[in-house]
Symmetry: C2
Subunit: 164 residues, 2 copies
């Protein structure tokens, strides 16, 4: 993002975080990575982002240690996985805008309970890690019909690769 080229002027941890995930498209890319997307072409099919921009963002995420490049796959690192609470709470906040129905629902795999807005399982009372979350389509399901969107509509565990 570069707030004035460097953030000595904004010495705040939020500004540093935004340097990494605050640019256009970046957080949507991270979200897709949580959903299981790993390949360049799959990010592209799902996001309609220009190739040059996608290439730039993936590179920056790799440099920052959010994603790891393994061959032609971009895999979430532990540090990237720590972004889950951010992605989740922001997504939940966005649900209230325009009074829309949720597109996706998140369930605790071990007990089947729906995760709360704060990222906790009301049954277990604990913060649920991405790996223990199952993704299912919500009431306001997607209108997109690209292959990636279709696959993402099938219930699956978070961070599980989209491709077999």
């Amino acid at each position: 993002m570069a707030l004035g080229k460097d953030y000595t002027s904004q010495d705040c941890s939020l500004a540093r975080a935004l340097e990494v995930v605050g640019e256009r498209w970046t957080l949507l890319i991270v979200r897709d990575a949580f959903y299981g997307v790993r390949r360049f072409s799959d990010f592209r099919a799902h996001l309609d982002v220009p190739k040059a921009v996608l290439s730039d963002r993936l590179q920056k995420l790799v440099d920052a240690g959010v994603l790891d490049k393994e061959g032609h796959e971009y895999v979430m690192t532990p540090m990237g996985a720590d972004l889950w609470p951010v992605v989740h709470t922001l997504g939940r906040w966005g649900e209230r805008l325009h009074g829309s129905l949720p597109y996706r629902l998140f369930f605790h795999t071990s007990c089947g309970t729906r995760i709360e807005a704060d990222g906790r399982c009301p049954a277990c009372g604990e913060l649920v890690a991405p790996r223990d979350i199952e993704l299912r389509p919500g009431a306001g399901s997607e209108r997109r019909d690209d292959p990636v969107s279709k696959r993402l509509r099938e219930p699956h565990r978070m961070l599980e690769p989209l491709r077999p």
Copy 2:
């Protein structure tokens, strides 16, 4: 932000949230509003953002219902206050980058305990609302010396107006 001018293409609640708070500077403005900044000139003094951009962002935040304009003050709405978990978790995540020390610390006013990364008070076990959080300067305190930064370094309750 406008992802392709409209988000019918990205029908996801995260994309909607990013339309509101995903543009450059916007989340830093929201953070300052949590810290007690309310006036145009104070946002400017603390953020070094071009006037035209600040004007645009504040207007959009008012339109979106995140801030409320009361005379010459931009005050956080309840909907805006719901963004606290997002701002807090993202800020905490940013602390790990470059192994920096926290600039600010957050304490539960009623019991004096430091708030956890997930926004909970370990003593009370509950999610702490912004109004019940006290702000204090951290170990890696700020290098900025504008009047707003100085006032923000004094311990104070979140959302309390910076000016008396």
